[in-house]
Symmetry: C2
Subunit: 394 residues, 2 copies
């Protein structure tokens, strides 16, 4: 079991609940013991998935993995796998939250695989009100949870191949598996993996078992080992290291993982996240057009101090929050993305013009997303495991 990076030795820290400092992704791979998503593996994925190859893979936003080749070996020998990803509902959905769901949507469309989505309203209740996070009731996290699911599933999924595990509603399916996991994990282990302390509440201590359960539930339902691939932010890796440690003793296949890097915040922070006083750090899916325009126009870029200097020296896309948006989603055409990157570096494209081009793309994306969201509302409740919430048909 690899511990979290000790903060006294490393200038950054990554846990499922906090990202501090500037992440050195190469060093993080060493610390976590993950493998790079290298050219050979990318070529293999490209052969399997065909064209168009997804920008999230093509452009290095997915950057590391655990056991992906073994999963692909099985798939190519005829053993289908399932996808599992999730969301902790602590607030509204912003663009960064979509990344694992966009990869899942693409993989489901290409391979026809099933998706299991976990909505951890229990987690966000248990961890709220600590370390600067505002207090959330179970009613809050439940309400946010349903809203969040509408946003996330609007990325595009086949309802018949999509299972929703809404923790407080679906706990009867999750709990027996969580118990099996919990019996094999001690408090000491959670101290080492998550940095828990004696004053951590006992719900938070137990919670990682509930996050492990969806990786094994498809095997339980099928009555045979079903391989599982978990696309997630690299900050969620500690949970799944633990899941992988207990998998084989419990008779389940170790889940494979594929990790995305953090999407930077518009205010120049390492991770697009938001709080009451930093709403402009993130673009929410509910943002009206004027907010999108304001947020992008104020966004942190890799530009120079003056137009003259930028024309002469070029800008630096690697640190730019606007370029990160082009890279992730808003320039799906490889030629356009290459052009934006080249002219940014050369000084031909100035930040103001670049932002002006991006704003309408984001506005249009949000408008179309809102339409797809209404379609999801028609089927979401029927896909919640163990039945819909009380008082709703389904």
């Amino acid at each position: 079991m690899t511990p979290v990076p000790p903060s006294e030795k490393e200038p950054f820290k990554v846990t499922p609940w906090a990202v501090e400092g500037r992440i050195d992704y190469g060093r993080l791979q060493e610390l976590f013991g993950t493998s790079p998503l290298d050219d050979e593996l990318l070529s293999r994925l490209r052969r399997l998935l065909g064209e168009p190859f997804h920008p999230l893979l093509e452009r290095g936003i997915y950057l590391s993995h655990r056991d992906l080749p073994r999963l692909l070996d099985g798939y190519e020998r005829g053993t289908p796998f399932v996808l599992y990803t999730g969301r902790g509902p602590s607030g509204e959905i912003h663009l960064a939250h979509l990344i694992p769901f966009e990869l899942c949507s693409y993989l489901q469309r290409k391979l026809g695989v099933e998706l299991w989505v976990q909505l951890t309203d229990d987690e966000k209740f248990l961890f709220s009100g600590r370390a600067g996070r505002s207090e959330l009731s179970l009613k809050d996290t439940y309400r946010l949870g349903r809203e969040n699911l509408l946003d996330l599933l609007a990325v595009g999924f086949d309802p018949k191949r999509t299972h929703v595990l809404f923790d407080t509603l679906s706990i009867r399916s999750l709990y027996p598996i969580a118990l099996e996991v919990a019996k094999r994990v001690t408090f000491s282990t959670t101290k080492a993996v998550f940095g828990f302390r004696n004053d951590t509440n006992i719900g938070s201590i137990f919670f990682t078992s509930v996050q492990s359960a969806p990786a094994f539930l498809p095997s339980v339902r099928a009555g045979r080992p079903v391989p599982c691939l978990i696309p997630c932010g690299v900050d969620q890796d500690p949970h799944f290291r633990l899941t992988r440690d207990v998998a084989e003793p419990l008779g389940y296949p170790k889940p494979a993982l594929i990790h995305n890097r953090m999407l930077p915040g518009l205010l120049g922070e390492e991770k697009m996240s938001s709080s009451a006083d930093r709403q402009d750090n993130a673009i929410f899916l509910s943002d009206p057009p004027a907010d999108v325009e304001r947020k992008v126009s104020h966004a942190f870029t890799g530009g120079r101090a003056s137009i003259e200097e930028q024309r002469r020296l070029g800008a630096n896309p690697e640190v730019c929050s606007v370029w990160a948006l082009w890279r992730s989603r808003f320039a799906p055409d490889p030629a356009e993305f290459a052009e934006i990157t080249r002219t940014c570096r050369s000084g031909e494209l100035l930040c103001g013009e670049c932002k002006s081009r991006l704003v309408p793309r984001v506005q249009r994306f949000l408008r179309e997303h809102a339409e797809r969201r209404r379609e999801v509302d028609a089927w979401l409740d029927s896909r919640i495991e163990d039945g819909p919430p009380p008082g709703r048909g389904g």
Copy 2:
């Protein structure tokens, strides 16, 4: 929060999972901070409940409480309460397990109150395989759980006023409340109350939240505060101290408790409990007549070394496992019980004769119990909260 009795200072130790040493019940009340069930309170109960007054109350088997007068005040002012008791299914049911259920049956019959029964199959899975306990799978604890419920409910309940919380089946009702509890309890608290350590598994650490939940569920269902009385063995008190500590901050009434002493084992142990090599310490509800006869005839008594000595000095019922059986259930007629006690003390009644009288009573009780058990089988599944087990009609 009162800690468990420190074993270096006290010659006995009582936790929900172990009773060690000879319990000094007076000292235990001091350590736990409970109140004696004194003559004044017994008189009040007798006025409320009328005749016949139950032997478990009359004869001091229920011996302490928390907040019982306040619960009775409310009842007499027109606020009904619910009963909550439970069972951890680690093995077959023996006579000692019936004690809280017999009191509940009597109170339900007398007062018409609702009973909530919790079956903690999760707990017994999580705590199995440690401290000398044999390993149990969730399948084992589930199977034992249903068998145990048949035995326990055969004591006699009104199905319409009986709710069964079978943890792994009813977790959707329990979990949101358990989360509220868990958020207010730290690992430090569970160390102090239960003696947990860093190598305790995270399911065991969380479990006490699940045992708290039934005390609050009736309030959640009713949408108003519903007082709750918990009849239980004194060894279960630590869980409910914690339940009481979190109740008011969560907006629920503090549950009241009434505690029974441990029924001694037939081999002279402090608590009637059993393991593979001590089957003769307890009378199981499934024991065939010949086993009852053997176990009673070998039972530890308060008799003397010789008949002559016993005739001269009398025997000591206080330490006798056979007298404890008469006291609890097998001499419901007060005159008969007084006669047995008097003649035991005087030396008129010898142990062999006393045992010969008891054996047919126990055999008859078990025979009648088995008939009532078959009746419970017809309604049990329909009373499990959140629906019956998969594959069974409801």
